[in-house]
């Protein structure tokens, strides 16, 4: 994570800023979180829908587009190109958007970004703020911070609104309330909208949506400031882009006096044509739509002659550790366009859902990004809780090698001795033998016989002391008795094939 202060940000931060209790990450509690998730029946039912719906829809829409694979390659290449020249594209973007009347603010840390946004709101005398869905805003804990400083920020994306009522984090980057049942949402609405008639019917999703529409419509119209994220920033035109389905992002951006965009620096793409490439893979990978309902390019404040639109347009460019990622083995993670396809296809995510990951970014992309942003020592379970099945990489629209990067985190963890002692010892014990083939052969020959004997012809173990994790839920097959290599040696004899291989005795690396 980028350390260091920024004079401009510090100077801009007025006195008397209340520190917010931001959503503290519970990434350290992955195992406990996962266990709770596995026992949560409502969550398990909700996750079944994730598994079935998202996967099928993506496949259908991909099958309908012959150029889909070529577009994935193009999307990857555009991101790689942009990252290689990120400094220059950021400068170009900044130049363009300033020419169009926008204001750029760079933020090194999450704290800087929060302070910049608070400062803008205070200067405007803002009391009411509407928000479009933004993972970066979750990352910096914006809502709680604004709230602690007397500014009410209302989430307007339906899923985000619901979890805001529950004071929860999103459990999925596209469908934040995917873990909830209709009954839970009804309970939340009744609690929160206490001024509405109690006998009203909220059984159907349509009535819940209708209620949210009318409650939030008032908020849209009353907001002083609207804050959105950005899926992309286009350098050529100085535009920010949001990709949504509800229309809340656009109402947030259009109605208030000021529009603030919060975007991390890797969102930049060079041109409108590049944007088109990425748009073609984004919605398809995320929800199985060919295009989201609303894809909006926003450039500067309202122009002279416009009848609507904000008078002020601010873009906060957040670093928060990304610039450091550029130089290392996690650079490819900066290609991510936040589609959610990886978690939609992940067997671990299907089992435990998003909250188990403990922070803003769940699933495979979260397993790689979270340690980069908050440190591997805070999030060591995330890249470890993977079978490396590879489905995430298979569907990633920008072809991020996610399993490889999870493995890189495991390497960092190993180098820094962060893994539990028992695991290190177990590995060291195994490695001692694995590196010494002759000894290994002897040891395994003994182990095979002993285990086979212990199984007493039943062929399996119901309990196995050193493998209780396995035998808690599964039987463990016993060895057949004599290892393959010992049988091979016996059958074929020393004359054929079990002598030391002749020839190259290459130098060990």
């Amino acid at each position: 994570m980028t350390e260091g202060t920024s004079q401009t940000a510090a100077a801009a931060a007025p006195l008397g800023i209340a520190k917010a209790a931001t959503h503290s990450a519970s990434t350290q509690c992955f195992k406990g979180n996962a266990k709770a998730a596995l026992g949560d029946r409502d969550l398990q039912n909700a996750l079944k829908f994730v598994e079935v719906n998202f996967i099928a829809r993506r496949q259908e829409v991909a099958d309908r587009l012959p150029e889909f694979e070529a577009l994935r390659d193009a999307a990857r290449d555009i991101k790689d190109h942009t990252l290689a020249y990120l400094d220059l594209y950021l400068e170009a973007y900044e130049r363009r958007m300033t020419e169009q009347g926008g204001n750029v603010h760079y933020a090194v840390t999450a704290e800087d970004a929060r302070n910049i946004i608070l400062d803008i709101c205070r200067k405007l005398g803002a009391r009411a703020v509407t928000k479009g869905k933004s993972m970066v805003a979750e990352e910096i804990g914006l809502n709680d911070f604004l709230d602690a400083n007397g500014i009410a920020a209302v989430e307007t994306d339906l899923g985000e609104y619901i979890i805001q009522l529950r004071h929860e984090m999103p459990s999925h980057i596209i469908a934040p309330a995917v873990h909830l049942t209709k009954a839970q949402i009804e309970g939340d609405f009744r609690r929160a909208h206490s001024d509405l008639p109690r006998e009203r019917n909220l059984e159907e999703p349509t009535s819940l949506l209708a209620e949210a529409r009318s409650v939030l419509r008032e908020k849209f119209l009353a907001a002083d400031v609207g804050i959105t994220g950005a899926n992309f920033l286009v350098a050529e035109t100085g535009s920010s882009v949001i990709v949504t389905n509800e229309g809340n992002g656009d109402l947030t951006a259009t109605l208030p006096r000021a529009h603030i965009v919060l975007a991390s620096i890797e969102k930049v793409v060079p041109t409108l044509e590049d944007l088109a490439q990425l748009l073609r893979v984004l919605a398809r990978s995320a929800t199985g739509q060919e295009m989201s309902v609303y894809t909006t390019l926003t450039t500067g404040p309202r122009r002279a002659g416009d009848l609507d639109g904000p008078a002020e347009y601010h873009v906060v460019l957040l670093d928060n550790g990304r610039s450091a990622m550029l130089g290392g083995e996690f650079r490819d993670m900066l290609r991510c366009i936040r589609c959610g396809a990886c978690m939609n296809h992940c067997p671990v995510y299907h089992a435990v859902g998003g909250h188990a990951y403990g922070w803003v970014y769940p699933g495979p992309m979260g397993a790689v990004l979270t340690p980069a942003l908050i440190g591997i020592d805070q999030a060591r379970d995330l890249p470890n809780a993977s079978t490396f099945c590879g489905r995430c990489e298979e569907v990633c629209p920008v072809r991020i090698p996610l399993p490889k990067m999870m493995r890189s985190w495991r390497e960092r963890e190993f180098e820094r001795h962060l893994s539990p002692a028992a695991a290190r010892w177990g590995l060291a014990f195994w490695a001692f033998f694995a590196k010494r083939a002759r000894l290994y052969r002897l040891a395994t020959a003994v182990a095979a016989r002993l285990m086979a004997l212990a199984a007493r012809g039943r062929g399996r173990f119901r309990h196995l002391p050193l493998a209780s994790g396995w035998t808690r839920h599964r039987d463990f097959a016993a060895p057949q008795g004599a290892t393959f290599q010992s049988q091979w040696q016996a059958r074929r004899g020393a004359a054929r094939g079990n002598a030391d291989p002749p020839g190259e005795q290459g130098a060990r690396p």
């Binding site: 495991r410 190993f414 057949q480 190259e504």
Partner: protein, 265 residues
């Protein structure tokens, strides 16, 4: 060198038996030998331990490289290296070159080694040109696509094609055959509850096919799925696909008792 061998139709194969087969189920190794010899190969088994994947996936690159170097050395005399496991073959073929990237001495050796390494069924089908086997087995089976074999090595149609030639064998495809079984090597012991949730889904999908026999190309996956099926009280038997293709199904199925009353399922 490889082409000359192919022309002479005698392929000298070093069998990478895999640590799980070696320790738990040698019959898979012998089935592999039979299939290879039937296809005109000579088979030898140099002294070996493991491909190093446990160290690799635990982040211990140094140990992985040390083991990899030993494997590359041990298999140097052979034209082909064949493993009855998609996950081990993937380690040897895809990850060994990664381990030595940039090493002027070992990278070329690792690349050459990777080029001559194959998963068993892929080798039989694509290199030896095997299109049918002489085995027979009256049973309905379902096939699980192990993740590494499928996604690292592209193995999908070959097992099904060859199983289709086993007389009397019916194949019933399970729902989500290509979805992970939850084994994941060290994953199943580090996160046993999550692994269990995943394998429970897999077991349900297997049972829903009505098959009496579960097949796959990776013993780790098979032990995981068989263990769950057995704990559930299922009668479904699990075997490695090589055993069925080689017609060697007299041994008890995975995890089954050692004194069968008749021919094993």
């Amino acid at each position: 060198m490889g082409e000359t061998m192919a022309e002479r139709k005698t392929r000298h194969v070093g069998l990478f038996v895999t640590c799980l087969v070696d320790l738990f189920r040698p019959s898979v190794g012998f089935a592999a030998v039979k299939l290879l010899e039937d296809a005109g190969c000579t088979v030898e088994v140099p002294r070996q331990s493991c491909c190093g994947q446990p160290a690799f996936n635990s982040g211990d690159r140094a140990t992985s490289r040390e083991i990899a170097a030993q494997v590359i050395d041990a298999f140097a005399p052979f034209d082909f290296v064949v493993a009855p496991s998609g996950s081990c073959a993937g380690m040897l073929k895809i990850h060994y070159p990664e381990l030595f990237r940039g090493d002027p001495n070992w990278q070329p050796r690792a690349d050459r080694f990777a080029a001559k390494t194959h998963e068993l069924l892929s080798f039989l089908f694509h290199v030896c040109g095997v299109r049918a086997v002489a085995a027979r087995l009256a049973a309905t089976a379902t096939y699980h696509d192990s993740c590494s074999g499928l996604r690292e090595l592209g193995l999908r149609s070959e097992p099904r094609a060859l199983l289709g030639t086993v007389a009397g064998l019916k194949l019933a495809e399970m729902h989500d055959a290509n979805v992970c079984c939850g084994f994941g090597g060290t994953f199943c012991v580090k996160y046993p509850d999550i692994s269990n949730a995943i394998v429970a889904k897999k077991a349900a999908n297997i049972a829903a096919t009505g098959a009496s026999l579960l097949l796959a190309g990776d013993l780790g996956c098979l032990m995981n799925m068989a263990g769950k099926l057995q704990r559930d009280g299922s009668a479904i038997a699990a075997r490695h696909v090589a055993e069925v293709l080689a017609g060697m199904t007299d041994e008890p199925a995975i995890g089954a008792p050692h004194a069968p009353s008749g021919p094993a399922p």
